[in-house]
Symmetry: C2
Subunit: 866 residues, 2 copies
Amino acid sequence: MNKQYVYMFSEGNATMRNTLGGKGANLSEMTHLGLPVPQGFVVSTDACVRYYDESMIIDDEIVREIERKLNELEIVSGKKFGDNSNPLLVSVRSGARVSMPGMMDTILNLGMNDTVAASLYKVMGITAYDSYRRLIQMFSEVAMGVDKKHFDTDMQTVLKKYDIESDHDLTLEALKDVIERYKDTYIREVGKPFPDDPKEQLLLAIESVFKSWNTPRAKYYRKLNGFSDKWGTAVTIQEMVFGNMGQGSATGVAFSRNPATGEDSLYGEFLYNAQGEDVVAGTHTPLPMSDMKITMPEIYQKFYDYAKQLEKHYHDMQDMEFTVERGNLYLLQTRSGKRTAQAAVKIAIDLVNEGVMTKEEAVNAIDVNIIDALLHPQFDRKVLKEVQSIAKGLPASPGAATGVIAFTAAQAVHYYNKGKSVILTRHETSPEDIEGMHVSSGILTARGGMTSHAAVVARGMGKSCVVGCSDIVFHKFDEATINGKVYKEGDEISIDGGTGLVYDGKLKTQEVSISEDFETILKWSDEFSKLKVYTNADTPEDVQKALDFGAKGIGLVRTEHMFFESDRIRAVREMILSQSQTQREIALKKILPMQRKDFEDIFRLMKDLPVTIRYLDPPLHEFMPTATQDIEELAKVMNITTTDLREVIRSLHEYNPMMGHRGCRLAISYPEIALMQTQALIEAAINITKETGYTLQPEIMIPLVGDVSEFNYLATRIRELSDKLIKDANVDVNYRVGTMIELPRACILADEIAVEADFLSFGTNDLTQMTYGFSRDDAGGFLNDYLDKHIYTSDPFSSLDTQGVSQLIDIAIEKARSVKPNIKIGICGEHGGDPKSIAYFKQAGFDYVSCSPYRVPIARIALGQK
Amino acid sequence: MNKQYVYMFSEGNATMRNTLGGKGANLSEMTHLGLPVPQGFVVSTDACVRYYDESMIIDDEIVREIERKLNELEIVSGKKFGDNSNPLLVSVRSGARVSMPGMMDTILNLGMNDTVAASLYKVMGITAYDSYRRLIQMFSEVAMGVDKKHFDTDMQTVLKKYDIESDHDLTLEALKDVIERYKDTYIREVGKPFPDDPKEQLLLAIESVFKSWNTPRAKYYRKLNGFSDKWGTAVTIQEMVFGNMGQGSATGVAFSRNPATGEDSLYGEFLYNAQGEDVVAGTHTPLPMSDMKITMPEIYQKFYDYAKQLEKHYHDMQDMEFTVERGNLYLLQTRSGKRTAQAAVKIAIDLVNEGVMTKEEAVNAIDVNIIDALLHPQFDRKVLKEVQSIAKGLPASPGAATGVIAFTAAQAVHYYNKGKSVILTRHETSPEDIEGMHVSSGILTARGGMTSHAAVVARGMGKSCVVGCSDIVFHKFDEATINGKVYKEGDEISIDGGTGLVYDGKLKTQEVSISEDFETILKWSDEFSKLKVYTNADTPEDVQKALDFGAKGIGLVRTEHMFFESDRIRAVREMILSQSQTQREIALKKILPMQRKDFEDIFRLMKDLPVTIRYLDPPLHEFMPTATQDIEELAKVMNITTTDLREVIRSLHEYNPMMGHRGCRLAISYPEIALMQTQALIEAAINITKETGYTLQPEIMIPLVGDVSEFNYLATRIRELSDKLIKDANVDVNYRVGTMIELPRACILADEIAVEADFLSFGTNDLTQMTYGFSRDDAGGFLNDYLDKHIYTSDPFSSLDTQGVSQLIDIAIEKARSVKPNIKIGICGEHGGDPKSIAYFKQAGFDYVSCSPYRVPIARIALGQK
């Protein structure tokens, strides 16, 4: 049997989404439900794929199949395509497996020509010619790419000629005039006459749907969302019904519940005596559905009942298109409705309470990608209505932030120390700016994309960030122009990382707290999740936020972030620049009490939950002063010349710092650093155990291990010191020593490592870098080329590479569990908070995912979903 | 049963090398062969390992075992340790599984004290006291680290006091005086009296052997050779025989064949009436073995017969120590003799011809590490006819070397670090000089024979060496006179290790051609090898050299090396800095003819052998001008301002260039580069096919592929253009398009890649970098710490990591062959010429290894070995 490429609605169902597209699958499903759906057929996505495989020609075999299905539709409808007496008209729509901007719009009234129009005129009256002129215009614009303005000109000419006010009031004569002018325009713009043959119209329309799959907009959207270019689109061909048949006719779109608030009432818009495109085109002002309840109460009630039936059937809130033709209601489309985060939560809870959904379905119904909005401070909505933005960039990390402009990391630190909230405003950021980013409330850059350094680091820090804002022009170190206005260092601005908008001055923000409904959804999610959610947090504030959001542990405390604090960076620098172990130990002694206090604060909050503390990780030069003043001050403290100090700093330079002297390599060269951190950590644990009586769970994590010998060298020393301190204090502290798995070699040798380590945590950022062989900071140079040229479908730093990197993780987990079946395994890279990556983590055998505090609720829901 | 830690010679054999050390195992084997070996026992390497495991204490259990074996030796020898009437004396020697500089020297005459000496005097005469004073001195120096100069002073005092000329002529009274003084020196320097108790002497001696395992010298040597610090050393305790019993007594060392030339005659040195250390100490001038043939013909004949028996037994040339005690010949040690590369080849061929070895054994007998010497330059013969040598010494290790004089190891390192070729010029060398020898091109000493430290170590390192050049007189640390002319540190000289001649200044060297014997060995090697040897070569000169050395293809032409040529770098820069595709194509047009000629030259030489050409690989900024003048010139050519040009150059900066925009990523961003290279390559192939009629085998290699889409994107375009060019030219060119596997992700996804690629070649340099997560350029910062702290046993860039990286290679090969069983797989990283890595490549399923031209013969032999 040959492969089937074309399906009647009655042959399909809702599960055939990938073949029929969302639209076609739902029309099929509604047909089976006995709902009033004009019948039709679907040219499948397979036909589209084949179209592209075969040099953009629709194969004869498929053309014949389309003709056969058209015959079937003629039988079902009792009408005939192009017939003089009882002609069939159809609509043609695109429909991929997910809806997608840039795809072809609907073409209505296909099948019209002069003869058909004359014949239909007898039945429909003037609507027949109105539909005809609409077909020519839509076909020209949508399928042939003719500019709308030509038709507008034609229409204006006719309206003037006949002195008619609106296109709603055209006389038969005027309409016929319009049609002739439209046909002339077509031949002028397209180069050949408007096709008279309905079948030619249909095939051209189908082909233009196929072509619309590859418009730049559609491609861009797929790139952005990581959808495959190989899915293709389906084409839905459906018998026309007419909302423009005068009195008692209407057309509109409506949600089964309010998509902004979640309130349970039909919510939407409609127009009397119109066709579908009038509602969306914005040329006529549509009426709210509440009007319909009054003017067409029976239709409204019927529609409401259908909506509830569909909600019950699909177990979700629906977004529907409908047409009323002379008092008869038809449903033209249904799909799950898009909604705000707030509505999503309310609807899910309500549907469960109404018995429409199970708790599990409610959890699955939440679109985790929009939940972010519930978790970050936002600007006051009332305020936003009143102000104008001054610039727009890419929304790189959500949340609203206000503060004074700092043009350098040093300025940021300066203002932060003065107690000011700071917006770090840079051409682009680099690892040298980390300290400045850390103390800023928001980050704004003129260059870079969604995976630029600023974007990635800001997301990791949970800070508001707008990147690629090309409206900013920098003049000097302390001045920039934003859309013509000069801003100086210290001036106030506001940025919205959720929209990419930049505002002048300090806008009012409102903190968001988790609603009761949201809390319920999160609780339900946990019930269906086999993994725990930990957090990556370095400060007591972050820790508290994560606990509020339901984190069950800390998967990553980056101790170096503590080192950047302004009151201790100098001691850290002194330590790094020490030329002897003794000198280094003196500097470490200064850091010890600060670090101990950091750990105490965290342990006190975390009580008996696990706290995974990663030892010093980044290349040392990241801590180095660059400003002359800082160098001079440090030289004085260290009692060396600035020349000597500069020489030491220079000697720390590395060609590829990402692949240099960092991670556990630092601690192996200078074990005294790891020992200081151990002393601080264990003493803190002892103190807080004494203070609170909780059984703490400190987990010491050694970074960047590639060989079990590295782990053993450090773990032996760490355990020795820890045991001694614990014994001397006579307090029970159950610390554990584990490692990050972030190098390909560590994956391959995970069995050897697992024998020695108490736990493993995958650092998927570095693992992705090393597996692909490119660094996040440098990938910007070619990643866009890769996405444009379809070499990658998504950025592996956003969502875990489930082809390659995942295989290394699978190997590692299998090897580790082969020697220690119950070893605790987590993931603490940025992928930990990414729903797409979580889908993989769920089935890969992890015990927990760890993510930034603001991603904790998202991770909880994603983990609860199927 | 308890583990055995101590073995009688009669309990061991040659296979127990790892437990008994080389010395102990061979003494055991000789015992079984019925050769005249003084009996004894071996404290095993396991005892040494346990010594270090147990905080450097010899366990009581082992002490008791030593005592039991000592009792057995007493029974076998019929003598008793410390006995008054018939005392047993023993020697104590270190012996690891491989011989190693820095280990403890021999201690002879152990078991002596006042009573024993008095008793032995009755039997041995004055030799008894001579042996006693030697024991005290050796024990003090070797086991207790007392400085030799104290004993020299004592000896000088006594010689003066009794007016005696040499220590050979001491009277009984004088000897007793010496002994008393030595004992005083001992108590003064060591802090307690010289131990009287023979058992105490023995245990202290054994412990000091254990300690010598961890001297800095021994550790450095192990690090250099990648030997494990965990092997430990054995200790051999053997009954003394005396070469210093007057007339008819002698001691010496000899090879069964000439170790410099391979000539078949006993070759060595001996001393009448002496103990072993006199021969190596250089204090007395030894006689050649040919003298012994005349003075002791029967002993000589017996020794010759034993030597031949040992050669037949071990299937190899032997290096033996012997002692003649009053007309009785004893063998004290045998081992495979170190030899020059030239001798190695001759001996192997001779032994096969004599039926002692099979061809396979002959190939396996070659030490690939010294073969280098046959492959390095010799002095130009014409030049040699015109110049006069300034001095002559012994030709200790062949090869010509020129360089600046360094009088100390530290100076040698200093000049080496400045990029200079160095001739280390010393009175004599000692183990402290190892590092200096390692960095020198040649070694020249004023004293010592063919078995002196300098000679032995230089041969081991395959370095040119002239010893015993008594024409050199040293004045200070930075000056010496050679035959009247003053030479200062840094002056240039030349030495010929094949002739022993020394020349003033820097002589011209010439390439060496492969001898007939060597050619035979290479041919035999090929017979036993399953893999082919290709070469990495970028220039016609390199290609020719590799062909001369037997390369069967080119595994890697680095096209970027061609780009650096001074006449084309500007066009390359122009291409890189182009701001549009058009601009870039103009620059590429300039490069095309040059690149085409490069390929033509190579194809012409390679004829029908495979030529694998890698497309542009390094980060673009590597090509950028940095000098102001270059930037200004380039700006002029490109018609832009220097400011703009500097900005473009700055924009090419990458944080981690190794992980940035390079490899195939360049060609994906700028396909026109790959297309220019394709055009150059295919046109060159067409031209040379027409010119020569050969069926060329060009193989196009795309670097740094991590995803099959990258490969396909480029391969499609490359094949399209190639096919068109070939079709237009109407010439048959069987080009292939393959890729390098050098990223972990490429290994994991090698099956997907192999479906599309015609061949795979592992780039193990980059693969090692990415798998370990450190770059070769930056690893210097910690790799020494890693080796010092025993975290790594060797540098993974020198020898392939056969724990981790090899697993990725195994996975890749298995996956690739699972989809394309016969796909050609090679390796073109630097590991390709490393014998240790080759051992892995042989069994991993590779078709070929590719290495630099000078490593080709080494790779051929290594591949032929088991």
